[in-house]
C-alpha cells in the first residue's frame, strides 16, 4: 500500500473511438471535483489527462488510464498497446506530429499533445517500446498554496 494513496480509478480506452473521446478525462475531472481538489490542480490534471487520452485514441490500439489520487498529488498512468514512439525527444517538440491525414482533417494531431501534458504537469515520464506500446505517467502536485 502506497503512502497517502487515497483513491484509484481505471479507465479503458479504445483506439480510434472518437465517439467517446474525452469521456475519461471528463470523468477524471468529476472525480477530482468531488474530492475537493484545488481548482488549479483539477484544471492542469484534466487538460493533461485529455491530451493523454487523445494520444491513445489517435495513435494506439487500446489502453488503460489509471488515476491515483494522493494527499499531496494527482497521478495519471496511461499504458497503451500501440506502435510506440521511436524518438521521444522529437515527439515532445511542439508541432511535431505523425498523425495521418484523416486525423488531421478531424482537427486533431496538431503536435501539441505531449508538450501540453508537460506544460500542465509537475512530473512527466514517458517510456516507449516501438511496436509494443507506450506508458505515459504524469503528476500534478497539490501544494499548500493551492488551498
Amino acid at each position: 500500500m502506497e503512502e497517502n494513496l487515497l483513491l484509484v480509478e481505471k479507465f479503458k480506452i479504445q483506439g480510434r473511438d472518437f465517439d467517446r473521446a474525452g469521456e475519461a478525462s471528463s470523468q477524471i475531472k468529476t472525480i477530482l471535483k468531488k474530492l475537493n481538489i484545488p481548482p488549479s490542480v483539477i484544471r492542469k490534471a484534466t487538460i493533461a489527462a485529455y491530451e493523454t487520452e487523445m494520444n491513445i485514441i489517435i495513435y494506439a490500439y487500446h489502453g488503460v488510464m489509471t488515476l491515483k489520487v494522493y494527499k499531496n498529488k494527482v497521478k495519471v498512468i496511461a499504458e497503451d498497446k500501440g506502435p510506440g514512439i521511436p524518438d521521444i525527444n522529437l515527439a515532445m517538440q511542439e508541432g511535431y506530429s505523425t498523425a495521418p491525414p484523416e486525423i488531421l482533417e478531424m482537427g486533431f494531431g496538431a503536435g501539441m499533445g505531449l508538450a501540453n501534458i508537460k506544460k500542465n504537469s509537475d512530473i512527466l515520464e514517458i517510456k516507449s517500446n516501438v511496436n509494443k506500446g507506450t506508458t505515459v505517467t504524469f503528476e500534478v502536485s497539490i501544494n499548500e498554496q493551492h488551498k
Partner: protein
Amino acid sequence: MNNISNLHSIKIKSENCVGCTNCLRVCPTEAIRIKNGTAIIKDLKCIDCGECIKHCPHLASWAQSDDLRIISNYDYRILILPSSFNGIDFLDIEPETIFKRIFALGFNEIWEEGIGAELYLLQTEKWLEMNAKKRPLISTSCPSVIRLLQVSFPTLIPNISPINAPKDLLAFFIREQRRDIKNLGVFYLAPCPARVTSVRNTQGLKKSPIDGVFDSKDLYRRIIKNNIISEGKIFKAGRIGLSTGTIGGEGAFLKEKRVIKIDGIREVKNFIEKLEEEKVPPFDFLEAWACPTGCTGGILLPVNNISIASYELEMSEKQRTNDFSSDIDTPKLYESLSKKTVFLDSKIKPRPQYFLAEDVTTAAKIMEKTKLIYSRLPKIDCGSCGAPSCYAFAEDVAKKEAKLIECIFLGKKSTKKNKQEKKSAME
C-alpha cells in the same frame, strides 16, 4: 423583508406534492430529494432555474415573490418592466391601456428594462475594447447562470462580467435621476424566480437597488381584470433594448465580437463543462440563458407558448421607431454614468456544492463507499428512493443522508439482473 430563506425563491407546497419524481429528474444541480413523500430542495444547491416548476404536474413547486401591497410603504413608486414583458399577449388590450392600468395599481412611473440593457450593452462593448485579455466575458443578465457558476464551476467566476445586470444598472440609474425624491421605491416585475432571488440575495452587489420584486403572472391577472386607469410617466426602450428580452439580442448588438449564445439550462451546463475543460474555441462574449429562448421562456411570464412570446416580442420591436430609447439618450449618457451605477461593487463568491467532503481524505472514503454501494444498486434510476439517480442515492447513503433500505429493489430482488441470476441458478 419576509422572514424566509433568501437563498432561492422556488418553494414546495407540501400539501400539493405527491412525491412523484418529475422534478427530481429535471433538476440540473440534483438539488431535489423526496423524503417521506414530499420533495425538498437543498437550499445551497438550488440555482432557481425553474425547471422543477415547469415539470410539476401538481402545481406543488412555485416561486415566492413580494406582495404588491408593500409599495404603500413608499411615497413615490417606480416599476421596471422586463424586456420580455412585451412578449406577453394581452388579448385586445391596447399597450397604452396596459400602462394606464399599471399606474392605477399605484405606480407613478414605468421604465422599460430595455433602457438598462442599452446602457449595459454600450458599457459591455466599451469594456471589451478596453480589456483585451479577459476572455470570454460571461454576461450577468441571467442570474441563474451566475448561480450555476457559483455552485458547479467556480473556476469560471473570474470570467463573469463586472458590469451590473441591466435591471440593476437601470435601477441605480433611476435612483440617480430621481435622487431628489424622498421615500422613493423602485420595483421590478420578474419573469422568473432567479430574478426574484437576485433582488433578495444579491451576488456581486452589497445591496440591491430594487426595493421589491413581483410575479409577472400576478400582475397580468390584475391588468386583465381591473379596468381602472390612471396617468403616469413612461420611459420606453428602443429596438436594441427590447431585443434583449429574448436570446440573440445581446449578441446582435455585439456583432463585431465573437459571441456564443445558448439557451436552456441543460445546454448551458453542457457548454460550461466544455468551457471549463478548455475544449471551446476562443471567443469574446457568452450570452447564456437558463430558460429556452431567454427571458421570453421565463417561468413567471404569463404566456402559453414560448415561441409565441418571442414572436410577440419581435412584433413589438418592429413597432419601435428607434434603435435606442427615444426617452433616454442612452448612447450619449452611457459614458457619464457613475461607477456605482455601472459596476458590481463586491466579489461574486464561489459556493461550491459538488464535493463530497471538505477534506480530501474523507471525500475519498465517501467515494470508495459510494462505489461499493452503487455496485449493489439496480442502476435503472427509477427515483423511488427519492434521489435523482442510483449514483446520487449511493452517494447519499455513503454520506449517511439516506438509508440503503429506501431502495425498493434491494428488498424485492426484482431487477432484470436478479431475475437473470435466479434463472441461471434454476438451470
